[in-house]
Amino acid sequence: MKQSNIGKFGIFGGRYVPETLIPALDDLDYNYQKLKKNKQFQKELANLLKNYAGRPTPLYFAKNLTNFIKGPKVFLKREDLLHSGAHKINNTIGQGLLAYKMGKKRIIAETGAGQHGVATAMASAIFGLKTEIYMGAKDVERQQSNVFRMKLLNAKVHPVTSGSMTLKDSVNEALRDWITNVKTTHYLIGTVMGPHPFPMMVRDFQSVIGREIKSQVVHETGSLPDSVIACVGGGSNAIGTFFSFLNDDKVDLYGIEAGGKGMISGHHAATLTKGKIGILHGMKSYFLQDKDGQIKEAHSISAGLDYPGVGPEHAYLKDIKRVNYSVVTDEEAMKAFLLLSKLEGIIPALESSHALAYLIKNAKMFSRNSTIVVTISGRGDKDLQIIREHIEEKEKEKEK
């Protein structure tokens, strides 16, 4: 029996899917490897990233935040300025172009808050592909404006009513669709999860973030940053941010997970911190699960981090201790959200606010003359309703 190391990150990764999908994964892997080296493909991709998505994104020196924390120099990588308002589009344009070149006619995708669904619908529109998005019925209810955006972009949204009716169930439903329609359809996975080649391929498409940071920060300061911080849900903006720095041992990397209502409460999405090794959605990685191996629901105020698993490369980077993974609660993320809005006039996504909160909370840990980059993976417009409700709740509590 052959033991394949393809698509493995240490013991993590693999292709834990029904056999029906294996030919499709082989085909995708083959075509991706081929097109990756194709100059024409790279040229088209670079053109779309520049002229459609708006790359490169700025690296902004946050002077007011730097003064506020009385600590290191803070730079923000502005993925929030991309078309669609988040880093997701780096991946959807890449995979969309790939699917188009492979002659696929139909795209399916899962989405939690709707950010990946919107970015997928945009990419599909460019390439004229039919798009269907699976979204948990609970998320459809909570994120109506994104559901409407997807409809405007000509995508069909399927509310998922199975299981817990959230992101993990929409992944299940998308996989079931793919098993059924594998010949015509490409499953455009939104993060560095799933069976090989997805974790590697999505990482490659997102690694443009870290490549830009590297050259921008060297240009600005003359040297590499001392620390880089990004939030981790499935982990695509974090891997995209970290990948170029993995071999730079002097650069400390921090991945921040959603601590929800706190570790003791059990209501969190701290997969790497509190999860156990398991197998789900095609990959071996860390998952939130009970003692029998039933997957638990994750909780986070930010829908983009609300997933009970994490990409296999993060699991590996945790085990080899290359990246420090930590947790920030809903409350701490909320404070960071408000602070950045006031200090810098930037409204960050609640996801990215987790990375910021870690820095604010631990500012003393970093030396004053060091340089830190925080990836702002998306903008916070989608979170305004949640923030407003939270503030109103706080005010009510005060009145009491």
Binding site: E19, T20, K168, K183, I279, H281, K291
Partner: protein, 288 residues
């Protein structure tokens, strides 16, 4: 590659001393010129006691092999019927351990009937693979079907299962290449499980030609490995079953249609068991 083949032969010699019940069954059926009827139920649905009564009825009506699904929170290869049943069984507190106990009890009465577990990788791998397989063996489970496990990710599982004499049944699909079919056949013991369609579990209107072509192709290839072929997913009536067997399968697997009968008659157990018995008898009649 040559070296590995030799190793497999040695394993077979060891296995022969205590042959897996699945092999014994297929051998005896083939001597009689008969085909196997394999029935799937969700373990612990609607509750543990009824689950046992259901399985008794299936065996007494002609089921040759019983597949018990250990419910998993995220059953990605299953359609709505089995999803719903799994979720309900979980809500009522079913666990892998309780599924072990179901088999242990039933084996007292049906010692020669092979019992297989069908469940997802996480249930088998997430605690301690070795302990899980040993516990299964102790509770007289005869083998495993894991729909989200494929041959290249299963080295450790195969080694442990071989040592314990548990059957390792891998799945193939209509689009599986000939090369992979060979790999699947050589990793499988008991039988190879061909998924009949592009899709998830659940009954269908009619099979298309590609299904029968795939049965024929698969049988041709796996025959070289002297391992039987059973076909499942979507077989819901005797006519479907008959056509699949005619195309070359050694057995048929019914799951969702069995579960649907159970779920439709949940409030009337007598009627449920009667209808199940009749359905299985009809299917058994074509397994020749």
């Amino acid at each position: 590659m040559k070296k590995k083949k030799k190793k497999k032969k040695n394993d077979e010699i060891e296995m022969n001393e205590n042959r897996n019940k699945v092999n014994v069954l297929f051998d005896s059926l083939s001597q009689k010129g008969k085909k196997a009827l394999i029935c799937y139920v969700v373990g612990g649905y609607p509750d543990q006691e009824t689950s046992k009564e259901i399985i008794k009825t299936l065996i007494n009506s002609g089921a040759d092999i019983i597949e018990i699904g250990i419910p998993f929170s995220d059953p990605m290869a299953d359609g709505p019927t089995i999803q719903q049943a799994s979720l309900k069984a979980l809500e009522k507190g079913i666990t892998p351990l309780k599924c072990f106990n179901i088999v242990k009890d039933l084996k007292k009465q049906f010692k020669d009937t092979p019992f297989l577990f069908m469940t997802y990788s996480n249930i088998v791998f997430s605690n301690n693979l070795r302990n899980f397989l040993i516990a299964a063996k102790k509770n007289r489970i005869d083998g495993f079907i894991i729909p989200d496990l494929n041959v290249e990710d299963s080295k450790e599982y195969l080694e442990l299962a071989r040592t314990l004499g548990l059957a390792t049944i891998f799945l193939s699909a209509p689009n599986t290449t000939k090369k992979r079919l060979s790999e699947i056949a050589s990793a499988s013991t008991g039988f190879v499980y061909m998924v009949s369609v592009f899709g998830i579990t659940g009954s269908r209107q009619n099979f298309e030609k590609y299904t029968f072509d795939a049965v024929q192709k698969t049988k041709e290839i796996i025959n070289r490995y002297k391992i039987p072929l059973a076909v499942g997913f979507g077989i819901s009536n005797p006519t479907d079953g008959k056509n699949i067997l005619k195309a070359g399968a050694d057995g048929i697997i019914v799951g969702s249609s069995v579960m649907k009968l159970i779920m439709d008659n949940e409030n009337d157990k007598d009627k449920m068991l009667l209808e199940l018995g009749n359905f299985i008898k009809e299917l058994k009649a074509i397994c020749k």
